[in-house]
């Protein structure tokens, strides 16, 4: 795989006012899982989408390729290479999936079909999108496995998923996702199921992909450590909304939304025996019964009367830095 030169200000993909409604199977209620989220992906940069479970981060990621359940309804725009993916035909999308935009899922142990060899599953996108066959196909397979750091790739190609460890499988999933040199790679909690050491080296691998091949990387995660390690930009989600977004340093050094601030301070940060951790009171809200005004207001220690009446739209608080809070101000 050859490094490519690219322009860091080139927009790879743009999501505009993305909203997703899912149907909850328990009671058939409509859940506004994602609510008016916008963001831009740049080549060679990594966007972290962070939040707690149920905040809509995975749904956002899945909706970029329209890989949602059939009952889901998506609104907004996803602009990619001059077209709106939400308006594209299913056939057009298939040509884009795995070729220009590809994905990595959370659990590598179930991401590969247990009945087919690694080689077979790696060959599929290469055949379909790149038209590779025979020796060229094989050479590319070996090259890809080597690129993700798998020793003895020739043997691995003939093996089945159950013969490999989770860390190795996730590398193979990475190789499959990278097989056609995509523009955008969406990684949905790619290291949550891995051991700490496997986690760190996998993140380094993804980071290297982004920088070397001009990939726009989306990293969905709940772990601020992961964000700090690989991301250039962050989008913090709470109850289906992007409460804050901006460059990673600005967000970590001067968070503007009280939720972001609470998230950053409430994690044990490696300081030995710190006495008490600041906490966020209460529980995340039920998405089918969101409070009026700002969704975070009921848990917010700085909430004012106004917060429970109306929600702030995205407020400019810095260069490319936005926050949905009445009290957020530019530095």
């Amino acid at each position: 795989m050859r490094p490519v030169t690219f322009d860091e200000t080139a927009v790879a993909l743009e999501a505009i006012n993305l909203s997703v409604t899912l149907r909850r199977s328990r009671d058939g209620a409509d859940i506004p899982a994602v609510n008016g989220v916008s963001f831009t992906l740049y080549r060679g940069r990594t966007l972290g989408i962070v939040g707690e479970s149920g905040c809509g981060k995975s749904t956002t990621a899945m909706s970029l390729l329209r890989l949602l359940p059939r009952t889901a309804r998506i609104a907004g725009q996803i602009r990619f290479r001059g077209e709106d993916l939400l308006a594209a035909s299913e056939e057009r999308l298939r040509a884009i999936r795995g070729r220009y935009i590809s994905m990595i899922f959370q659990d590598p142990m179930v991401a590969l079909d247990p009945l087919f060899t690694i080689g077979d599953q790696l060959a599929e996108p290469l055949r379909i999108h790149c038209g590779l066959e025979g020796d060229a196909l094989r050479a590319r397979q070996v090259e890809l496995l080597a690129a993700v750091g798998i020793s003895t790739p020739e043997t691995r190609l003939t093996q089945y998923p159950h013969q490999m460890s989770g860390g190795m499988l996730q590398r193979i999933v990475g190789a499959i996702a990278m097989s056609c040199n995509p523009d955008v790679l969406i990684a949905d909690e790619p290291t949550t199921a891995l051991d700490p050491r496997a986690q760190a080296s996998y993140l380094d691998l993804l980071k290297m992909f982004g920088e070397t091949y001009g990939l726009a990387l989306v990293m969905v995660t709940h772990d601020m450590g992961v964000v700090a390690r690989v991301c250039d930009d962050v989008l913090v989600m709470y109850a289906g909304q992007a409460v804050e977004k901006g460059p990673v340093r600005q967000i970590f050094n001067a968070p503007k939304h009280p939720y972001t601030r609470a998230l950053l301070t409430s994690i044990p940060n490696g300081e030995v025996e710190r006495e008490w951790l600041p906490t966020i009171a209460g529980q995340p809200p039920d998405l089918s019964r969101l409070p009026p005004g700002c969704s975070f207001a009921p848990r917010c220690s700085a909430a004012q009367e106004r917060c429970s009446r109306e929600a702030q739209i995205e407020r400019v608080v810095g260069d490319r830095h936005r926050a949905r809070c009445w009290r957020a101000v530019a530095p």
Partner: protein, 293 residues
């Protein structure tokens, strides 16, 4: 695995599934007449089901030429009222099915729970017996049994137990095996709970749904077995009657009195269909893993 991050069910994990009806109306509609006749049969008889009337043999149902309201579904070769006989058959079939299935359930659930919970040697033995049972054609066992103890009610009930206990054992074993590894069972052991308490308070309550579903689904199959046994002449003996026997007897009059085998077979089909639809509904409602049936 202590290092994985189990995600609790979240809106992101929503799966496509149709909405479930509140009550299985169709299944209940199918079962209602069977249950009413089965329970109140003797009060509703138009005729004594065993009364032979040689003046009225092979009368067709009322909507055909020659039919009359006194015999709504016609009569058999001996002039007995078909409807009354079907009601009587319902009683016999339902009783046998219920008794057989319940006894089989008791044996099977005990065996399955023992195998799944205790594992080891107990499990090896029970699983081996279940395996053997599964690979022997059921009808052959019934024939062998019939040859040894002769026909009759006992044969049917014993056959039902014999055939069904292994199903319970297999499914309950698998379920108990996975329940045994749950955190709460380990914690109960840490809390000094004995096997009795763990089985009673932790395992059994969580098996309950599966058991109910299994019993419901098996009642239908037991009726089919009963019919089959009666059909090969090992079931209840005349003058008592059962649905399978009625199909068998009616078979000889196929060309002259088609209604005889048709209606008795229909009664079996409706009942079995009703119970299995009801069982399917229960299974979806209780969300158990008894899908192996």
């Amino acid at each position: 695995m202590s290092s994985t991050y189990p995600t609790p069910p979240s809106p992101e994990a929503i799966r496509v599934s149709g909405s479930r009806p509140r009550l299985p109306w169709f299944a209940l509609a199918l079962l209602a007449p069977v249950l009413v006749f089965g329970i109140f049969g003797p009060l509703l008889f138009l005729h004594d089901p065993t009364a032979i009337n040689l003046m009225t043999p092979q009368k067709p149902p009322v909507w055909l030429a020659g039919g009359e309201w006194a015999y709504p579904l016609g009569t058999d070769q001996l002039g007995r009222d078909l409807l009354s006989r079907l009601m009587e058959g319902a009683r016999v079939s339902l009783t046998i099915a219920a008794v057989g299935v319940l006894l089989a359930a008791m044996i099977g659930i005990t065996a399955g729970m023992a195998a799944g919970y205790f594992g080891g040697f107990v499990d090896t033995i029970i699983s081996q017996i279940v395996d053997i049972k599964m690979s022997i054609p059921a009808t052959l066992l019934i024939i062998l049994l019939g040859a040894v103890i002769g026909g009759g009610l006992v044969t049917i009930v014993v056959s039902v137990i014999f055939l069904f206990w292994a199903d319970y054992a297999r499914i309950i074993r698998a379920e108990a095996l996975s329940l045994r590894e749950r955190g709460y069972v380990l914690l109960a052991k840490v809390a000094n709970a004995g096997h009795g308490r763990i089985l009673r308070r932790h395992i059994l309550p969580n098996l309950f749904g599966t058991c109910i579903v299994l019993v419901t689904l098996q009642v239908g199959r037991a009726i089919l077995i009963e019919a089959g046994i009666s059909f090969i002449g090992l079931g209840v003996q005349p003058p008592a009657t059962a649905w399978g026997m009625m199909v068998f007897e009616g078979r000889s009059y196929l060309s002259t009195a088609w209604w005889l085998p048709t209606f008795s077979g229909l009664a079996i089909t409706i009942t079995v269909l009703g119970t299995s639809l009801f069982g399917d509904w229960l299974r979806d409602r209780l969300d158990t893993r008894a899908s192996a049936l």
